[in-house]
């Protein structure tokens, strides 16, 4: 029976995804290589179609560019509204970070951003850098393939519980497990169009940043995301950060309307290559920095 159930569920997901492909095929030539940089805008209001039930599948673009100023709702732009509720340690960490962007940016030669050595960004920084992603679903999980550096993340939707945060990691069924780049993510459908996701167990503040401007995040963070399917074309992706080690209160980082893109797009991925970084610094970064 379990095998039959799985088969039916996989079939349903396949049909749902196939429908999406066909919807695009009706409007575009069948055999082509679409532009490798998804740039489709949202459909006009009169052309909006209803969202499919419990489906986030598709290729999604944000039109935000590389999010140089950091978190979308509270960019690092010097405005009072964007000042963050740092704890003393949080402020100390921010000041120790030499970012390439934001109000306290430094030239390329002076940065200590782990990104420029091609360290993984870690979660949730992938949400705050060049955001675009392809989302897949099956009966167990939602998988997100971020365009930047082709990095995977898995959200479990099969009813398992959110792990308990403990020092240096998480506890699952009474057993310790280590912190991870993407943490441990569990999703729950609040209704047929809204998936709420909790993530804990991310890497400590010495290893990862929250955004391009050097805002800190610690391994005590609890990240809540809401994926809300507004219509067939639009997925609203929200995120709230609760990190008592770095911030005195939770704050909302983003609420981004993602636009559905042609699923046949073979995306021009922005890979991080140490070879290319070195070549860039040699030809430009060092000289431009006055080094």
């Amino acid at each position: 029976m379990a095998v039959l159930y799985r088969g039916v569920m996989v079939g349903l997901v396949g049909v749902a995804f196939g429908f999406q492909l066909n919807a695009f095929a009706q409007n575009t030539p069948a055999q082509t290589w679409p532009d490798p940089v998804p740039n489709r805008q949202a459909a006009a209001v009169k052309d909006k179609k209803p969202a499919p039930r419990r489906s986030l599948a598709g290729l999604w673009g944000s039109r935000l560019g590389n999010q140089a100023k950091g978190t979308q709702l509270r960019p690092n732009d010097g405005s009072p509204a964007s000042e963050l509720p740092y704890t003393p340690l949080g402020r100390q960490m921010y000041q120790a970070h030499k970012a390439l962007e934001g109000e306290d940016a430094v030239p390329p030669a002076g940065t200590n951003d782990p990104r420029v050595t091609c360290e993984p960004l870690g979660f949730p920084r992938y949400n705050h850098y060049d955001l675009g992603a392809r989302i897949y679903q099956d009966e167990h999980s939602v998988s997100i393939l971020y365009n930047y550096d082709n990095r995977w993340r898995i959200i479990w939707t099969d009813g398992r519980s959110v792990p308990t945060l403990v020092d240096g990691g998480v506890e699952i069924d009474g057993q310790y497990r280590e912190s991870r780049w993407m943490g441990y993510s569990v999703g729950k459908w609040l209704d047929d169009y809204t998936l709420e996701v909790q993530t804990v167990g991310t890497l400590p503040e010495e290893r990862v940043w929250l955004d391009n401007t050097g805002r800190p995040i610690s391994d005590r963070a609890r990240i809540t995301e809401t994926f809300r399917r507004l219509d067939a074309d639009t997925l609203e992706w929200s995120e709230t950060l609760d990190d008592p080690k770095m911030y005195t209160q939770p704050w909302q980082t983003m609420k981004i309307p993602m636009i559905l893109q042609d699923p046949r797009t073979d995306v021009l991925t922005r890979y991080c290559s140490p070879y290319e970084i070195e070549a860039y610094n040699k030809a430009y970064g060092d000289g431009a920095s006055g080094k």
Partner: protein, 135 residues
């Protein structure tokens, strides 16, 4: 390097039109708030992450040639503005408008490029105001 710097400044004074522009790298001291326009011959075009690099040779009124290195955004950022891997080839005559770095050296971030056929690449091409990442 000092010789190169002096040449760069003299070329800038002789050839370049400067105009106010929005600041890039908010809060950073890397890029100037002004733009410069230089006409030169393409030496190389690097289609690469984290940034594409256009190197051009600019001849000054004194006959001296100065090499300018101009950065654009990453390929996936500048593709929508029409930039491609083969947008430039060595020997092409181009006119580049860019935000120069503040230290006076011949480096800058591309705002737009006029190609040999007169067409222009710009907009999202490089100096995308308020949305530029150094790496």
């Amino acid at each position: 390097m000092r010789n190169r710097l002096v040449k760069a400044v003299s070329v800038a004074l002789l050839l370049l039109a400067s105009a106010p522009a929005g600041a890039h790298h908010t809060g950073s001291t890397l890029l100037s708030d002004t733009t410069v326009t230089v006409k030169g011959v393409v030496k190389s075009w690097l289609w690469s992450n984290p940034h594409c690099l256009l190197t051009i040779e600019v001849k000054g009124a004194d006959g001296q040639v100065v090499e300018w290195v101009m950065e654009a955004q990453a390929p996936n950022s500048i593709y929508p503005a029409g930039y491609r891997n083969n947008s430039f080839k060595p020997g092409d005559e181009v006119t580049v408008t860019a935000n120069p770095v503040t230290n006076g050296r011949p480096y800058g971030r591309i705002e737009s490029v006029v190609l040999p056929n007169g067409s222009k690449l710009g907009g999202e091409g490089g100096g995308r105001r308020g949305n530029a990442a150094a790496q």
